[in-house]
């Protein structure tokens, strides 16, 4: 039932503070006249002074506590209501009867303040309504008991109860409205903050990647390339030390970088490349960044067709090297498997089963298209497009 968990500096917190000041000023305006007139013609002037002192002390304690906590606790509102009820009875009894003295009865003002407090602090709203109803009932009872037979009772009751009721409603509405606006402001601010954080993180990610690229380029990639092309002799002690150093650097990089999100088509094609390499093909490839939402049947068809194209290179081209190019331009995917092998007569009537069914047919089934160009002696190009 705690009314708020206020965040320092947030818009909700500021809304609470504004209401707290408003309630404080209301009380100040109600207590100032009786404090000035405390010696006036009460039955017991000392009792009046004592009651005023208690009310002032209670308010100082309550507002000090509320300021510390950021908002009022429900028990404060209940205690304040109870005190207001007691005042209604005691101050009423201490005030001499008759309309001429009615202004001296300051308990109706403290009741309005307590009603405002209950409307602001007590949640849910029905609970506040019950509390205020209790106060109203006390007031009504006292008014009836002290009624001047000369005055119309109903008019007096309406005047008195009206003020209390409306203060509770107005402040209750104001608090809830300001908090809602505050919450909205907080939400907007949080969204902006998170967007800024994301941008900063992306920037940082890019910097880190650039740094890693540079590191890999200068170390492991250079070393491995040197060994692969025969430029470096991997049996020599010097090169082995260099490999160990580079491996250590890669381990460091891996330790600090989280895995990027994966993409199904990219994954599938990467797996196809790995399979082709297992078959003994050397595959050079370039990949554009691919969209994440390629349908599963298209991913399967493109993957299978690419696999079949590599199969054809391995079986028929006479070379052990092929290139895979995966381009994404203008919302269209173009996959090419190119070899520099012996080629063939690319008349579609002479396509074998693999070419006709696993490549051309498979792509057509998912809304794509495949084309094969070749000429004896000048390599083969298998091109897959999706959508066609």
């Amino acid at each position: 039932m705690a009314p708020t968990t206020a965040l320092a500096g947030s818009a909700q917190h500021r809304a609470n503070l504004a209401i707290l000041v408003l309630l404080g000023l209301q009380r100040l305006s109600y207590l100032a006249p009786p404090l000035v007139n405390h010696g006036a013609s009460y039955r017991f002037a000392a009792l009046n002074l004592m009651l005023l002192g208690t009310v002032v002390a209670w308010n100082v304690v309550m507002f000090w506590q509320a300021r510390l906590r950021g908002w009022f606790s429900p028990w404060m509102a209940w205690l304040d209501l109870g005190l207001a009820c007691v005042l209604v009875v005691v101050v009423g009894a201490n005030t001499p009867p008759g309309a001429a003295h009615e202004d001296l009865n300051w308990s109706s003002r403290t009741s309005q303040a307590a009603a405002a407090m209950a409307g602001a602090v007590l949640v849910p709203a029905p609970l506040a309504a019950v509390a205020v109803a209790g106060l109203l009932a006390t007031h009504a009872a006292v008014t009836v008991v002290r009624a001047d037979p000369a005055e119309p009772l109903v008019a007096e009751l309406v005047t008195c109860l009206n003020g209390i009721l409306w203060f509770a409603i107005i402040i209750g509405f104001l608090v809830r409205y300001l908090r809602r606006q505050g919450a909205r402001l907080d939400e907007t601010a949080a969204q902006r903050l998170s967007a800024e954080t994301r941008r900063a993180a992306e920037h940082a990610h890019h910097s880190v990647r650039t740094e890693h690229h540079r590191l890999l380029h200068n170390t492991a990639l250079a070393t491995l390339t040197g060994i692969a092309t025969g430029g470096l002799d991997h049996h020599s002690e010097k090169v082995r030390q260099r490999c160990a150093r580079d491996a250590e650097r890669i381990r460091r990089v891996l330790a600090e970088q989280p895995e990027n999100s994966t993409n199904t088509l990219t994954d599938r094609l990467a797996a196809v490349v790995a399979e082709a390499e297992d078959q003994g093909l050397r595959v050079r490839y370039v990949f554009d960044p691919l969209p994440e939402d390629v349908p599963a049947d298209a991913v399967a068809a493109i993957g299978d067709a690419t696999h079949e194209a590599f199969n054809n290179v391995a079986r028929h081209s006479g070379v052990a090297e092929a290139r895979l190019t995966v381009a994404w331009e203008d919302h269209r995917l173009t996959v090419r498997v190119v070899d520099g092998g012996r080629g063939f007569d690319a008349d579609p009537r002479h396509y074998g089963f693999g070419l006709a069914r696993s490549i051309v047919g498979a792509l057509r089934d998912v809304g794509g298209a495949a084309r094969v160009t070749s000429e004896p002696g000048d390599g083969t190009v298998v091109e897959l497009r999706w959508p066609a």
Binding site: N218, T373, D378, E383
Partner: protein, 225 residues
């Protein structure tokens, strides 16, 4: 004999290259240096004319690759950029700065020798990696390429030869060649710095020549299509 120089800070790779070049009859390694500045200060390099320099894209002195290319071109070197790995924008910038080609180091030494010979003969080496870099050049300063030029670049990026490119795209061989030349002209257009009035005058004259060339190209395209 083609004089060859290497700018690479990987001493072991330079050693490997030196060993291999020693066996190539028509290639001679005249100088090797870890940075462009070092190369340009060596006497051996200064005596060379019409040489080919193999320039590593990413040097450890963090020098700008395009500026490296420009300095070497101004010193009358023909530049072949090599790297184990690269970003498309970096490669495109070196091409705009006047590099004659780009190769990845994993291409093997015979392919490298072949590329050096082409560059020495004044040709441009359109490797698949260079074509891909030009196609994916993310820099806003990059030239606008026509759909036909992009199609030829994509074919080259896929590893296709000029002949298979022409066959695949259904165009004539010389038309495909013309598109490549036009890509190069567009890149060199943006790469040329205009420092002085004399440069500006040269630029204007070249632009006039470029217009003539485009007219030839459109003629070639009409006959090709």
């Amino acid at each position: 004999m083609i004089p060859v120089a290497v700018v690479d800070d990987d001493a072991m790779l330079v050693d490997g290259l030196r060993t291999w070049l020693a066996d190539a009859a028509d290639l001679r390694l005249v100088a090797a240096a870890p940075t462009v500045a070092d190369l340009l200060y060596t006497d051996d390099a200064r005596r060379v004319s019409a040489g080919v320099v193999l320039l590593d894209l990413m040097l450890r002195d963090n020098s700008d690759p395009a500026i490296n290319v420009r300095r070497l071109v101004e010193a009358r070197w023909r530049v072949l950029v090599v790297s184990v790995w690269s970003q498309p924008g970096e490669v495109a910038a070196t091409f705009a700065a006047g590099a004659r080609g780009y190769l990845t180091k994993d291409r093997g030494l015979p392919a490298l020798g072949e590329a050096i010979r082409h560059v020495a003969a004044g040709e441009t080496v359109y490797s698949p990696e260079l074509a891909y870099a030009l196609l994916r050049d993310p820099r806003p300063a990059g030239p606008h390429l026509s759909p036909q030029e992009r199609a030829v670049l994509l074919a080259y990026a896929s590893g296709m030869t000029l002949a298979s490119t022409a066959r695949h795209l259904g165009i004539r061989l010389d038309t495909a060649n013309t598109y490549l030349k036009r890509v190069k002209a567009k890149y060199q257009q943006i790469g040329r710095p205009a420092h002085t009035k004399l440069d500006l005058a040269n630029r204007v004259r070249e632009d006039g020549l470029a217009r003539d060339r485009v007219r030839e190209d459109s003629l070639a395209r009409r006959t090709g299509s």
